[in-house]
């Protein structure tokens, strides 16, 4: 695996390789997490600087959604005891259920009180279904290694596969299983796909599973799964023998877009297997071309390509017309250092920025009005996320050593984050005592809150920061144990903060009242001998 996706796994683990809230990270990986070149061919990107002496732009797509959050329950896995604690967020009651002997962290279906527990130590998969009274467990035999789960958005199916994990050598490169979630008729169908599946998409109707592999795209028609036996999914390639770079699938499930070499994009039409190629060199003749980021817009009509070397964003339409450079639109951002781009789910805004230390600004692009605004910040940028409705951006900053003692120096050296109102450009900087982690916040516009957990074990920093998005006022909620996850239950008007404590610990924050309620020790119940 190449480029940003590889960096993602080194930094954040495989479960973060899911689409959604786009967050772009820089640095923070350490030596082991240095990014590879996005074409993966010459190894010259990692740790190197470009011709202008700038450090590499590092992009990591991260979705923060705690893996075990259901509609109204949390699923907390105790790997040691082979049990999962089901924590009901409405009344804080807890039940524990037995799963496999060596379970991986349970993965919950978005918006449903249903989770899947994979197991390292046995050939079973446990399906947990929580009803009004209790949680039932259905154990299903599986014949191959699995480490990751992707749920179909309609709730009908899940795909179980062995994804890449840092430090772990896979043994299963082709076998995946589709789990039919129909209650009472649950079954696993084994499917052979291309080499090395890494990511699974679904079309909006839940009819197709689209599996990204190192060979290309394997598609599974979920409506025609065989009643018995195996299936080999048809594979579509990009009509090249070059290694496939980062591959994205648009939300409609119509196209797959992959990067090749220094400047090439290939678009695979998943309906008929046709491939269209676009070459950025067609419009940029002078100088060394440095493409640092590519994202598909939420509506699936365009790819936004960041050419850092030329301070350029190229909007390339998806479809047969992609090959025609005359239809591309180039947005020159002269003097505005950019290297990465992040798009809002709602589609109106995009934010272009760079992770180069010392560049303390972002560029907000209004894609509807075709306008841009430079927003000056107080610190260098490490990562940016946009709220689902596109109204706010969260900027995680770098802490940069200056050796100075001025106020600016101290601000630069501190950890911090900024919240930006994209409508007005107003931003608020918050200096904090620990590095805000890319997987420890929820920017939730339904409740109008940002929940951000801070942790620094060396300095005993354990805190939840609650930011009111209407006023940008910040409340600090001290925690007694290091936070590990943050999530929300919108219908219950509460957030939760999982914490690292023997026996398990979850603190609920009720945003209506500001009260907290902690449940702890629930994992011990699994080991009680009666």
């Amino acid at each position: 695996m190449d480029g940003p996706l590889r960096a993602l796994f080194l930094c954040a683990g495989p479960r973060a390789v899911l689409p959604a809230l786009a967050l772009v990270l820089a640095a923070g990986c350490g030596a082991g997490g240095a990014p590879a070149p996005w074409n993966g061919s010459d190894g010259g990107f990692a740790g190197s600087r470009d011709a202008g002496g700038r450090p590499p732009e590092v992009e990591v797509d991260v979705r923060f959604e705690p893996p075990a959050v259901g509609l109204s329950v949390l699923y907390a896995t105790n790997a040691g005891s082979g049990r999962v604690a089901v924590i009901h967020a409405d009344d804080f009651s807890i039940e524990t259920v037995k799963v496999g002997d060596q379970p991986l962290p349970a993965v919950a279906a978005p918006g449903r009180d249903l989770a899947i527990s994979l197991d390292r130590g046995s050939s079973t998969v446990s399906l947990l279904r929580t009803g009004a009274e209790s949680t039932t467990v259905t154990a299903l035999p599986i014949t191959h290694d699995v480490s990751a789960v992707a749920f179909d958005p309609t709730g009908g199916y899940a795909v179980l596969f062995e994804g890449p994990r840092p430090g772990i050598v896979r043994r299963n490169f082709h076998d995946i299983s589709v789990l039919d979630l129909t209650e009472g008729s649950e079954r696993l169908v084994r499917v052979v796909v291309g080499y090395g599946p890494s990511r699974v998409y679904f079309d909006p109707l839940g009819h197709r599973a689209i599996v990204v592999t190192e060979d290309g795209i394997s598609q599974i028609d979920l409506r025609t799964l065989p009643a018995e036996g195996l299936l080999r999914a048809p594979l579509l390639g990009f009509e090249t023998t070059e290694p496939i770079g980062e591959t994205q699938v648009d939300r409609s499930g119509t196209y797959a877009l992959a990067r090749f070499g220094d400047s090439q994009l290939r678009l695979l039409d998943l309906r008929d297997g046709s491939v269209v190629t676009a070459n950025l060199a067609d419009i940029i003749a002078e100088g060394e071309l440095e493409v640092t980021d590519v994202d598909i817009t939420p509506d699936g009509t365009e790819a936004m390509v960041v050419v850092r070397s030329h301070e350029l964003i190229v909007r390339v339409p998806l479809g047969p017309e992609m090959a025609n450079a005359g239809g591309w639109r180039a947005l020159q951002l002269s003097g505005q250092a950019i290297g990465s781009i992040v798009l809002s789910d709602a589609g109106r805004y995009a934010i272009a920025y760079t992770t180069t230390p010392g560049i303390e600004a972002i560029t907000v692009l209004d894609l509807e009005l075709d306008e841009q605004r430079r927003v000056v910040l107080r610190k260098s940028v490490r990562a940016v996320a946009i709220s689902a409705d596109g109204r706010f951006a969260l900027v995680l900053h770098q802490a940069v050593e200056t050796g100075g003692t001025s106020e600016d120096d101290l601000v630069d050296e501190a950890q911090g984050y900024s919240l930006v109102d994209l409508e007005t450009g107003f931003s608020r900087l918050m200096l904090v005592d620990a590095e805000p982690r890319s997987d420890a916040f929820v920017l939730d516009t339904t409740s109008e809150h940002l929940f951000l957990a801070l942790r620094d074990d060396a300095h005993a920093v354990r805190e939840l920061q609650v930011v009111d998005l209407a006023t940008f006022a910040i409340d600090r909620v001290p925690l007694l144990a290091p936070p590990t996850t943050v999530g929300i239950f919108p219908a219950l008007e509460r957030a939760f903060i999982g914490q690292e404590a023997d026996g398990g610990r979850v603190t609920f924050y009720l945003w209506g009242t500001g009260e907290t309620h902690t449940v702890a020790g629930f994992e011990l119940a699994a080991r009680i001998r009666r």
């Binding site: 020790g521 629930f522 011990l524 080991r527």
Partner: protein, 507 residues
């Protein structure tokens, strides 16, 4: 202030009415009773009760079983003690002798219980009702096994009752906690014993010891032995456990059982920011407050909801005194506490009705760190002591030796009365109801200091004082031992100015 009185008193041998006093004892243990003292010689197997009257003493011997003895003070009945003898394993020529427990007060032996075998140690529950014998020894023993005496009941087939820890990996019982009789859902009452062992605790129904216990590990990690439970307090139907060097308290809630087991449990934890070194239960608020000290912070938990608040504390505090009263600028009589320990200050914490309500806190600096403190919460008073450089001596059960008073703290006014002593004053005791302090120095010097009125009375005994031992009882007598090993003492009366009387060797 009283006039200084000089009283050289000749030795009086008042061996009045001593029936069994002829046998000289080699005393290994000593304990105060109500206007009496009990001295134990486990070589001879005698517990000698020496009753101290206004002008006379008399003694009575209680025969003990064989083996080394331990004296267990009754936590809630200061007039009673238990003498536990370990017994002896048998040989080819001698039958084994089991461990035995004898309840004693000033009137003599009250009850006696024999265990089924030999146990190396015994502890008494915090309410004094139960004595647990553990650490079985012998040529082949079951180390999991303990025996428990209900001291409110006479010996019978079921008293002591034997329990066997469900060992998960070879661990053996190290301590125990007991519940009060709990009104239970089946219409009866439930009495539980919690046995602690490395990494776990086991809960037994004392009325149904044949039912297997519920065993609760203290960690979720099955590959390691969890922290050792070191302290447990039942609060109604919940048991709060402090484990060794852990950031969390474990709360075991009792619930209705099923089948032959009358109870079940659920567990939760209360977390602090650091390792919890001490724990206290405070039931003065609207619901139970659990207080945990990490050495640098005090955490206050609402036991019911788990809500927590904390405040930073200076290093060194390890004790808490609860009291109610006013404070400077706050005339409201409210629950408060004061922290003390190895620190040159006291910290006051003012509490509200809710368990986590902290109204305020303040420090009272001291000129030195007290070596010990005697608290009188009802009077709102602490007596602080400095060290004289030497520790308590042999049989100095009141730990009177090696300390001198440094100040008396008014908890309500948060002010101190500084006390100075000459260099030869090295022994101090406070009477059982905390109203009077006695000090002793060289050449038989003793002085009485009324902590309420600050009146003093001085006297010289004809022999040096080795230790002071306050007796229990309304007379508030103090024994000034000239030789604690032989039982040579003077009786110091707390009332009146009468001359202290010197009593010869009593055991």
């Amino acid at each position: 202030m009283k006039t200084r009185a000089l009283a050289h008193v000749s030795l009086l041998c008042l061996c009045v009415g001593i029936a069994a006093g002829c046998t000289r004892l080699r005393v290994g243990h000593l304990a105060p009773l109500e206007d009496a003292v009990v001295a134990v010689d486990d070589q001879l197997g005698i517990a000698r009760i020496v009753r101290v009257e206004a002008t006379t003493v008399e003694s009575e011997d209680v025969a003990l079983s064989e083996g080394p003895a331990t004296v267990l003070a009754h936590p809630t009945d200061p007039g009673a003690v238990f003498v536990y003898t370990l017994g002896r394993i048998g040989s080819a020529d001698e039958e084994p002798v089991p461990s035995e427990l004898v309840a004693i007060d000033r009137t003599g032996e009250q009850r006696r219980w024999a265990f089924s075998g030999q146990f190396g140690s015994a502890e008494i529950s915090s309410d004094g009702r139960y004595v647990i014998a553990r650490s079985a020894f012998g040529r082949l023993v079951v180390e999991n096994r303990v025996e428990i005496v209900d001291t409110t009941l006479p010996a019978s087939e079921t008293n002591p009752v034997a329990l066997s820890l469900r060992s998960l990996g070879g661990e053996t019982p190290t301590a125990a906690a007991f519940s009060a009789p709990l009104p239970w859902s089946d219409g009866g009452s439930l009495r539980l014993a919690a046995l602690f062992a490395a990494g776990q605790l086991s809960l037994f129904d004392l009325d149904h010891p044949e039912v297997a216990p519920i065993t609760i590990p203290t960690t979720t990690d099955p590959t390691v032995v969890g922290p050792q439970p070191v302290e447990g307090v039942f609060v109604g139907s919940e048991l709060v456990i402090r484990t060794d060097n852990s950031r969390q308290l474990l709360v075991v809630a009792l619930g209705e059982g099923g089948g032959e087991r009358r109870f079940d449990v659920s567990v939760r934890t209360l977390a602090a920011a650091g390792a919890i070194g001490r724990m206290w239960i405070d039931e003065r608020g609207s619901s139970t407050r659990v207080i945990a000290s990490t050495g640098v912070a005090l955490h206050l938990f609402d036991l019911e909801t788990g809500i927590e608040t904390s405040l930073a504390t200076p290093h060194g505090y390890h004790e808490v005194v609860f009291f109610e009263g006013p404070a400077p600028g706050d005339p409201t009589v409210r629950p408060r506490l004061v922290l003390h320990g190895y620190a040159p200050s006291l910290m006051f914490v003012d509490l509200g009705d809710e368990p986590t309500d902290v109204v305020g806190s303040s420090l009272l600096p001291l000129t030195s760190s007290p070596v010990s403190v005697i608290a009188d919460p009802a009077r709102g008073r602490l007596v602080l002591f400095d060290s004289t450089g030497q520790g308590p001596g042999y049989l100095d059960v009141a730990e009177s030796r090696g300390r001198r008073p440094s100040s008396v703290i008014d908890l309500f006014d948060r002010s101190a009365i500084a006390l100075g002593t000459s260099g030869d004053i090295d022994t101090t005791a406070v009477t059982n109801e905390n109203g009077t302090m006695w000090i002793a120095g060289r050449q038989g010097y003793v002085a009485r200091f009324d902590l309420d009125t600050q009146e003093r009375f001085e006297a010289w005994l004809s022999s040096d004082v080795e230790t002071l031992l306050p007796l229990h009882g309304e007379s508030r007598r103090v024994l000034a031992f000239h030789s604690v090993a032989t039982g040579s003492f003077s009786i110091l009366e707390v009332t009146g100015d009468e001359t202290p009387r010197l009593i010869g060797a009593q055991y």
